[in-house]
C-alpha cells in the first residue's frame, strides 16, 4: 500500500511539473505570442491615449495668444503648490488698469498629475500633454514658465 501511494505521488508530482513546462514550452516555440515592447526603439510608433496625463501645458494659438486671465483658480485647486501665478496690470488704450497674467510658473518636480487644475480652469487655458519623458540633468530645468514669451491674452476672454 505504501509503495503504491509513493509511486502515485511521484507520478502526480512529475505530471504537475510537466504540465507547467508544457505551458512555458508553448511560448518558447511560439515567439509570435510574445508581447514585449522594445522601448525606446519603438518611440515613433508609441501611441498614448489623448487623456493620458504627462505634464501641464498652456494652449497657445497661431497668433501666440492664450486664454489665461490670471484668476489663480488652478493655483488654489492644486494640492501640492505646483503652480504659481504672477499677475501684472495692463493699461488699456482707454487708460483703465486691467489684471493680466505675467508669468505662469509650473513646478513639474512637484506635480502628481491629478488633473485638478485642468478641471478648475474656467477658461480652458491649460491642458494635459502626453509627454512623459521628463528626465533632465538639472533639477532647476523642471521649473517651467508655461506662457510663451511675448504671448498675450485672447480677445474676448474674461
Amino acid at each position: 500500500m505504501f509503495i503504491k501511494d509513493y509511486i502515485s505521488d511521484v507520478y502526480k508530482a512529475v505530471r504537475s511539473l510537466l504540465t507547467g513546462m508544457k505551458t512555458t514550452g508553448k511560448y518558447f516555440i511560439h515567439p509570435g505570442e510574445i508581447i514585449t515592447q522594445q522601448y525606446p526603439e519603438n518611440r515613433d510608433q508609441l501611441h498614448l491615449p489623448e487623456r493620458f496625463r504627462g505634464e501641464v501645458v498652456m494652449i497657445h494659438d497661431e497668433n501666440n495668444e492664450h486664454a489665461c486671465t490670471g484668476c489663480t483658480a488652478c493655483e488654489l485647486a492644486c494640492p501640492n503648490a505646483t503652480i504659481k501665478i504672477i499677475t501684472k496690470f495692463d493699461i488699456s488704450p482707454e487708460g483703465k488698469k486691467k489684471k493680466a497674467l505675467d508669468t505662469f510658473i509650473y513646478h513639474l518636480e512637484l506635480c502628481t498629475m491629478c488633473n485638478l487644475c485642468i478641471q478648475a480652469c474656467p477658461t480652458d487655458a491649460i491642458k494635459m500633454a502626453q509627454n512623459f519623458e521628463h528626465s533632465v540633468y538639472d533639477r532647476s530645468k523642471l521649473t517651467k514658465k508655461l506662457n510663451q514669451p511675448g504671448s498675450k491674452i485672447k480677445e474676448g476672454v474674461e
Binding site: L17, G20, I35, P49, F52, P79, M113, M128
Partner: protein, 384 residues
C-alpha cells in the same frame, strides 16, 4: 572567516554569541531592503536554529503622514493622496474617500456613475490580484509567472490609461461621481480583456496552482484559525481563507453591490494555500461582476451637481469598502469647514500584518516567504 572565539571576544551581542553554542536564540533582520518584503518592511526575527520564535515588524520607513496631510487639503484635494496608500487598488481607495464625503453631503449619485465606479473597482481588483499572483510566485522561486500575470494586467492598465488618464494613480473618482465619462472604446476593450482573461486563466492553474512544489510549500504553512483571524482583525482574503465571512460588498453593500449576483469566496483551511485559492477564485467573481455590468451601463450624467467648494456639516462620518486586500475604512471628523478636522484610515494591510507573528511562530524561516506572499502586503498601505 571569523572563528567562534573571535566573535565572542569581539564583544558581539549575547544573542549572536548564544547562538553559536547551539542553545540560545539568534536575531536577524529581514529588510528594510529585501527582495521578499516587497517594499521597506523591516522584520526583526528571533530564530532558534531555523525555527522562528518571534517576529517583530518595525514600521515607519515609508511613513508620509497622509492622515495629517489630509487635514490641510480640501475635500476635493485629499482624494488623490489616498491613491498613494494602497497603490495597487488606488481606485478603490479613492472610492472609499468619495463615499465618506458623499455621506456627509448627502449626495445622490447618478446610476451611471455608480456602475462606472463598480466596474473600475472590479477591474482594479483583478489587476491587483494578478500582480499579487505573479509576485507571490516570484517569492517562491518561479520567475516566469510574473510575466504571464503582467501580460493580462497590462491590458487593464491600458484600459485605465485610456479612460482615467493614468495607469496606477488614477484619481478618477470625485465626490459626486467620476471625473469624466468613460472612453468610447471602453466597453469594447473590457470585453476583449474578458476574452483574453478567460483564454489565459487556465495557465495560472497549470503553472502554479497544480504545481507540486508550490502546493507543498503552501499547504499547511502559516495556518491561521478562524478565531485568530477575527481577534487579529484580519479582513479580506486573509480572513476569508480562514473561513470568516468578511466581504464588505456582501455585509455592508455600497453603490449597487446589493443588486449584483456574485458569491463571497471562503475557504476553511486557513493556510497559505487557502488564501491563495480565495484570491484566484475572487478573480473569477470579479470577472463575472464585470460581465453583468459591461452591457448595462445606464445612460445619464456621470457626475452629480456639486458646489465648487465642498463643506461637510459638523459631525463624524465613516464608510468602508472592500479593497483587494480587505476592509478599508475612512473616518472623517468635520468641524463644518472646507478641510477635515481629523481623518483616519483603517487600512487592511496593517491588521493583516499583525497576524504574521502568530502565524509564523514555530515554523521554518523558509516558510515565512510563503506567508508574507499570501498576506499580500503593500507597505505604503501599512505605513501610510
Amino acid at each position: 572567516m571569523y572563528t567562534e572565539t573571535q566573535i565572542i571576544k569581539s564583544g558581539a551581542p549575547a544573542s549572536i554569541a548564544g547562538a553559536l553554542d547551539g542553545t540560545g536564540e539568534l536575531v536577524i533582520n529581514v529588510g528594510p531592503q529585501h527582495p521578499a518584503t516587497h517594499g521597506v518592511l523591516h522584520l526583526v526575527i528571533t530564530l532558534n536554529g531555523e525555527t522562528i520564535r518571534k517576529i517583530e515588524p518595525h514600521l515607519g520607513y515609508i511613513h508620509r503622514s497622509i492622515e495629517k496631510m489630509c487635514e490641510s487639503l480640501s475635500y476635493r484635494q485629499f482624494i488623490y493622496v489616498t491613491s498613494r496608500m494602497d497603490y495597487l487598488s488606488s481606485h478603490i481607495n479613492n472610492h472609499a474617500c468619495a463615499l465618506t464625503v458623499e455621506k456627509g453631503l448627502q449626495l445622490e449619485i447618478p446610476p451611471r456613475a455608480q456602475v462606472i465606479r463598480v466596474l473600475m473597482d472590479e477591474l482594479t481588483r483583478v489587476a491587483s490580484h494578478e500582480l499579487w499572483w505573479g509576485a507571490m510566485a516570484m517569492d517562491l522561486g518561479a520567475f516566469t509567472p510574473f510575466f504571464y500575470a503582467f501580460r493580462e494586467r497590462e491590458t487593464i492598465t491600458d484600459i485605465m490609461e485610456e479612460t482615467c488618464g493614468a495607469r496606477l494613480t488614477m484619481n478618477y473618482i470625485c465626490p459626486g461621481g467620476v471625473n469624466y465619462d468613460i472612453h468610447p472604446n471602453f466597453q469594447r476593450r473590457v470585453k476583449d480583456f474578458i476574452q483574453l482573461f478567460k483564454s489565459k486563466i487556465h495557465e495560472y492553474d497549470e503553472l502554479v496552482t497544480g504545481n507540486i512544489i508550490f502546493q507543498n510549500r503552501m499547504k499547511g504553512v502559516g495556518t491561521l484559525s478562524r478565531e485568530d483571524a477575527i481577534s487579529f482583525g484580519c479582513t479580506g482574503p486573509v480572513a476569508r481563507g480562514s473561513g470568516v465571512s468578511s466581504d464588505i460588498r456582501k455585509l455592508f453593500p455600497y453603490e449597487i453591490y446589493d443588486k449584483l449576483n456574485f458569491e463571497e469566496i471562503t475557504e476553511t483551511a486557513g493556510d497559505s494555500f487557502a488564501r491563495y485559492m480565495v484570491r484566484i477564485r475572487e478573480m473569477h467573481q470579479s470577472i463575472s461582476i464585470i460581465e453583468q455590468l459591461i452591457d448595462n451601463i445606464p445612460e445619464g450624467d456621470f457626475q452629480a451637481k456639486t458646489k465648487a467648494v465642498l463643506k461637510l456639516p459638523k459631525g463624524e462620518f465613516y464608510s468602508r469598502v472592500e479593497t483587494a486586500r480587505g476592509e478599508l475604512g475612512v473616518y472623517i471628523v468635520s468641524e463644518g469647514g472646507t478641510t477635515p478636522y481629523r481623518i483616519k484610515f483603517r487600512s487592511p494591510g496593517f491588521s493583516n500584518l499583525s497576524a504574521l507573528d502568530h502565524m509564523a511562530r514555530g515554523s521554518k524561516l523558509g516558510d515565512l516567504v510563503a506567508m508574507m506572499g499570501t498576506l499580500d502586503l503593500v507597505i505604503p498601505d501599512i505605513d501610510r
